[in-house]
Symmetry: D3
Subunit: 240 residues, 6 copies
């Protein structure tokens, strides 16, 4: 088995996390997993959605988009089509759930955090890159909110989270699939974890043949290995 | 730990699969997992979507809906809201992918199968009940298509598939969550499998605390145990 | 003239009204006019629409839907099309107006009743079956609301209402058209009445040749005959 | 009983039918029933809807709209709301069905007629005025189509049709309700007829108390009386 | 160069402004620039949009529409398409901005003025006719609001505004383009001015070759000449 | 008068044009006018819109978007709102018209060029930056199309175009407004020109007081001065 990129099976793509990428948002990160590039911003608004009113807690919601030509073929712009596709909604629900798992909502106060992940170039793994980058933007945004006098209840971050994809490619478990691998993989597994090794989300899909329990275990082990490196990269970015 | 329903941890709800439930569809099944009731129909139309034209294969697509008062509180009708919600799209994408994994598309010929799963009463596990029931409706629909002179290329069914949910409830892995469990579970894991024991989909979400690798393994084992019973129920229903 | 079903001209199809069909709704009825099957639920919500605020009266509104494969050919799901069709809106407006005629809104109090009529199998006459079944579900729902301590102003039901279709088929007035008759009838007339013999709605349409005043009278007489039987069936169902 | 307008019970409002009201359309009529003013145009396009392809017949379809301030209070513009309301769809379906009853579609050839009825001032009876005016515009449009070399199969007009509303107002049957009557009437009945006295549509709605069979008969007789006058006005307009 | 209409280069079409054209609106004008006919109404509602709440000022907003057969070929009705096109939105934004320039919002009080411009017949220049006619309807509406006891802060009209189009047609600057000129012009320039000679909007578009600074100046001079005549016509209409 | 940025009245912001900014598109440019940053891509698809079929010419169309947090306050994502706003449609129509003026469509052949301008950071002048950057991306895209064997009819570029904004700020004409100036300017004028000094579009709006003819002339002169510099920057970028 030879990976299209020449990487070995358990090798991540070069990952870069650039903070303060745009100037207006409370948190703004450009995250790159190889050629996959996503702008992750975190914005703060007062108030919470109606279903949370008066419950003494904040909220976080996420939206995801791709520039029409982020991909090899141009996709119709969702704003002009008049609706977001199922894939988009599925991904933004995943990002939102994952980042909410990082927070103690009762410490946020009466605010809503909007996470926007916009893919400017896609080469596989946009949802896992989005989660990984948005976590860093979230840390930055909370620092700013605190500086402005918010977050009186203490630090709302319970745990760092990040995400990576793994898959079965030509019968071998591989880490961090790029687009050529992703489109040919037998199985695609997205894993969201905490820095202490717990799972937040595990989403595996057999694209061709079913995957066996031992393959699942091998992929999960590979994911854990990659996550350790990614958490170190997040920390390094935040230490700058 | 005591389950709200009084079931033991590895006990399924009573499952009933009623074939030929409505009269027009090529396949029509009422599937009941306890109080969860879903009408699954399979319809046949000539032709395939544009992206498959001329490739000598058929297609299967799925749609999912809930009657507005299938649930404890009434939900706004999606047709009157003017769009399907993210949860609906996510579930119908899952149903479609899962059932496509049962078929050899090249043997379908130039037809599209429409799977409609409509929940008339919800009590947890509607997506897994939908997949399980729709698989039976699919078998029936293919028999009718063959009787009408279609499916010249042989039987398109590669494998039976079914689905079940498992979860961590009060620290214990439990099988086939009903609504009271689902809304209180720490982790919710939906598993789609083949009758020969492979995984088609594994979707686990930590609702509260992260889940640990050993919990994941315990839940997967429980799912496998339940799936064996469900596959037997599918076979029994088809043998009638 | 021979009716496709073998019925005589003034004969209704077998009508069945099953109460408490689903478990969550305040009122829930499965109504069957032969092979036409509709789930009718009545749900209660606090508050009234904006245009009624502060006027000391309640409201009732209705929605209608068909499962995509309730019919011989599959119809596109309205939720996925993004809008309800003209036929759907026309029918749900008719159901709402008809049921409002059964109620004294000033006795409802500050609540809104949502009537949902969902056709799970269609064989002609879905709108008249919906009205007939929903009336029974409405009676049940009001009993529950009263039991919960609502309806302090007395019983809001002014009169029972029900509906039936009649038509000119091969030159003869016939009662309760099924689909084969409906699609071939020269005239289709839907009649909503009160149990004391008044008209709430009369909607007649010439599909081919115009209908003459004496034909209209013959059809109306037939409708009145059928309505007497239907009101008896409603009472019997409510007496169970 | 005194009508708000001072008219006697069986008196129509002044009706004016102005042909060639706008210059582009094949048929263009301004129809006025008192203060109700509707522009009715008929446009011709080649081809027929998909469901009629290859059947050797033409089609007619209708659309209805109201300028936002055609009424006493401004209504939100449907184009800006993003959808047509149920009332609009119901009316345009009625107009389309009614005018199709005037035509032998097999003589139209492979064309579609678009009827647009746009209310510029509303004072009750907009749907019946629309049908009455559009019938005249239809005659004009067919003359133009014939002049251009179409309609080789002979005159497609089978019969003239027109419409009027009647109702029970303060216990008395009255003809051609204006807005003050319409909003206070116990019963509102719209009648579409042919010039030879047949019914095309009869749509009666009890707004308050149910209406009795003898009231229905009285209203229908009144409608027939009014229709005779309206057919004469149509003929006079066409004779100019 | 010969204009299709036979007009000389600096000649306006016959312009007619008919006040009180429909009866319900506070201001209602039919404006005709030759064969271009637009109904302009101004409606008043209490309250202001959310972004202006509590700022002690009123608001004016405009909407624009065309009857489907106002033009040579029928356009699809925007209400039935489910959205307003880009051209419509662009024009109604222009009308709104232009009329707001006529008003001192702080003198309006807590009301919103809705301007509706609906084209019943189009022959070029519908946006400039709309602005010109709506200004007159605005004056009338404000008189009514004052009569009803509003506008306590004094007259909100700061200046009269009106609009006209100019263009380069066959190399010559011409005033007030009709449709045959508009569709063939090299440059189309819409100008909105105040009666004291200032510019509110200048929107010029090269349809073919770029236009040169001296051509722009010639067109602007022509516009100013035409505007003087139009302001006089507005005054004459208001003096009736 | 002191500009917020400290620039002198006729001074542009630093402008940077980065070619090949993303890897998939035929043309891809990041254009920066100070803190305004826009990704402009040009994509090629076979075929032309229906209204151009069989006319032997190609087409170019443009779409414009802003990341939700490109601005100081977060804007709702248009894809999630379900429609593009009027401002967006107005801008993308302007971009499309402007770039079409650069091309001889008859030399494009049977292809459509999609121009996507996505603002990742906004600080005033996003539409003029978009046009300026997209022109460079268009040149690059055409080179690629030619290399692939297209454009047999010769170079379709007739002329380079670019755009800049000017305005009246505190009574003084200034070049290239940034956001603080734009939101306070009395007049805002966007100018699209050709490199040979002709106008393609001139769009001026009085935000407060009307602007006078001599102010318009002063602003246009300033625009011409700025355009010369911008055309030089385009050439330099293309020469790299």
């Amino acid at each position: 088995m030879k990976r299209p990129s020449g990487r070995v099976a358990d090798q991540l793509r070069p990952i870069r996390i650039t903070r303060n990428y745009t100037k207006h948002a409370e948190g703004s990160v450009l995250v790159e997993f190889g050629d996959t590039k996503v702008i992750c911003t975190v914005s703060v608004e007062n108030g919470v959605p109606r279903f949370l009113k008066g419950q003494g807690q904040g909220w976080l919601t996420a939206e995801y988009g791709m520039l029409p030509r982020a991909t090899g073929d141009r996709n119709q712009r969702e704003a002009s089509r008049g609706k977001q596709g199922g894939r988009t909604l599925e991904i933004q629900r995943l990002i939102g759930r994952s980042l909410r798992a990082a927070l103690d909502m009762s410490k946020l106060g009466d605010i809503t955090l909007y996470v926007d992940c916009d893919v400017i170039q896609a080469d596989g793994g946009t949802r896992t890159a989005s989660i990984t980058g948005a976590m860093v933007a979230l840390v930055d945004a909370l620092k700013i909110i605190k500086k402005r006098g918010g977050l009186k209840g203490g630090d709302p971050i319970k745990q760092m989270i990040a995400a990576v994809s793994v898959g079965m490619y030509q019968g071998v478990p591989v880490l961090d699939l790029d687009y050529p691998e992703d489109s040919a993989a037998e199985t695609d597994l997205n894993v969201v974890m905490t820095s202490s090794g717990g799972f937040i989300e595990v989403q595996g899909t057999a694209e061709g043949a079913p995957f066996q329990p031992e393959e699942l275990n091998a992929m999960l082990a590979l994911a854990q290995k990659g996550m350790n490196e990614i958490f170190a990269l997040q920390q390094a970015a935040l230490a700058d």
